[in-house]
């Protein structure tokens, strides 16, 4: 950037030099016109030129100093701030570009990671789905077996209960029949047996007990 501005200054100073050279050439033509042959023949041409052109050392030094001052002032108060601003802007642009590149890379990385995660998630989901299906299948089979076992147990218990109920009913019927038979027989025997028959039976039973005891 600095080189650019220095070049610009030189370009700007070139027309000034050309203007000064043009003025000097015109003054030389005016001086050489009356006695061109005598001057060119004799004397030191260089001295004569410098004298004729009015080029003096103090003027030249003063012009050089002026030029340096102008160049310094321009460099100090124009070129340098502008160059700094341009450098800062260029740095910002470079930073922005770099940031954009980084963001692009990060975005690509994030995209890649996202895609990878989605892929992994899909794999995991598929795995979970498969496991869930297997578990549900096992659970259904287990529940089916349990239900079958429970149904079988209920049927068995009901059958046992029915059988017990039947046995109890048969027992009750037998007891009732026996009770009725005994009651009827007792009434019939009590009514039909005479006292003599009862005494005969009692004597016989007593002898039976006596003989059994012996």
């Amino acid at each position: 950037m600095k080189a650019t501005f220095i070049t610009l200054l030189l370009v700007l100073s070139l027309p000034l030099g050309l203007v000064a050279a043009g003025d000097a050439h015109a003054a030389l033509d005016a001086v050489l016109a009356p006695g061109e042959e005598a001057a060119s023949a004799e004397g030191n041409k260089l001295t004569m030129i410098t004298e004729k052109f009015g080029v003096t050392v103090p003027t030249l030094i003063a012009q050089m100093i002026n030029f340096c001052l102008v160049a310094f002032v321009l460099y100090k108060f124009a070129v340098k701030p502008i160059a700094a601003t341009l450098d800062e802007r260029q740095q910002k642009i470079a930073d922005g570009l770099q940031y954009a590149e980084e963001m692009k890379a990060q975005l690509a990385e994030a995209e890649r990671e996202r895609a990878e995660k989605i892929k992994q998630a899909a794999i995991d989901a598929q795995k979970i789905l498969t496991e869930s299906r297997e578990q549900s299948k096992e659970m259904i089979e287990q529940k089916t077996q349990e239900a079958a076992a429970q149904a079988e147990a209920i049927i068995r218990k009901a059958s046992e209960a029915t059988e017990l109920e039947r046995q109890k009913m048969l027992s009750d019927v037998r007891q009732e029949v026996a009770r009725l038979v005994v009651a009827t027989s007792s009434k019939v025997l009590s009514r039909d047996l005479s006292d003599a028959e009862k005494q005969t039976f009692s004597d016989s039973a007593a002898k039976e007990l006596a003989s059994a005891g012996n």
């Binding site: 026996a178 005494q199 039976f201």
Partner: protein, 131 residues
């Protein structure tokens, strides 16, 4: 507890003293009671109650209660006395008791043992076998 044991032992001895040839007789019991009255034991009433319990038990062991719905011949009673005296190895007296629920036959009880030869008992056993 120790006092009860002493009274129990005393009551058992009194029961033994109340026997005449292995049989509890009224005369012997009267003698024992008279003796008790003279001694005047410190726990007189308790001794008497315990003696009464053991006496009842002894009498029950020596008595065959023959339950029958009607009259029973003397020969049958004698046969029962002879048989059970021999069976229990002690003199047993038969006592009749009327029980019309037996319909016919006899039921003999000696102590806690019961021998049944009645119609009601046979019908009851039949019913139990059927059911």
């Amino acid at each position: 507890m120790k006092r009860d044991q002493k009274i129990t032992r005393l009551a058992k001895k009194l029961v033994e003293l109340s026997k005449d040839n292995g049989v509890v007789t009224e005369a012997k019991v009267g003698e024992v009671l008279a003796g008790l009255k003279q001694v005047q034991h410190r726990h007189h009433l308790t001794v008497l109650k315990t003696f009464l319990n053991y006496l009842r038990r002894e009498i029950a062991l020596q008595t065959a209660v023959v339950s029958t719905p009607g009259a029973l011949s003397g020969a049958a009673l004698k046969a029962i006395e002879t048989t059970y005296s021999k069976m229990y190895d002690r003199p047993i007296t038969a006592v009749t008791k009327e029980d019309t629920s037996l319909i016919a036959g006899v039921r003999v009880r000696v102590g806690d043992d019961v021998y049944d030869a009645s119609v009601a008992g046979r019908l009851q056993r039949l019913a139990e076998n059927v059911s």
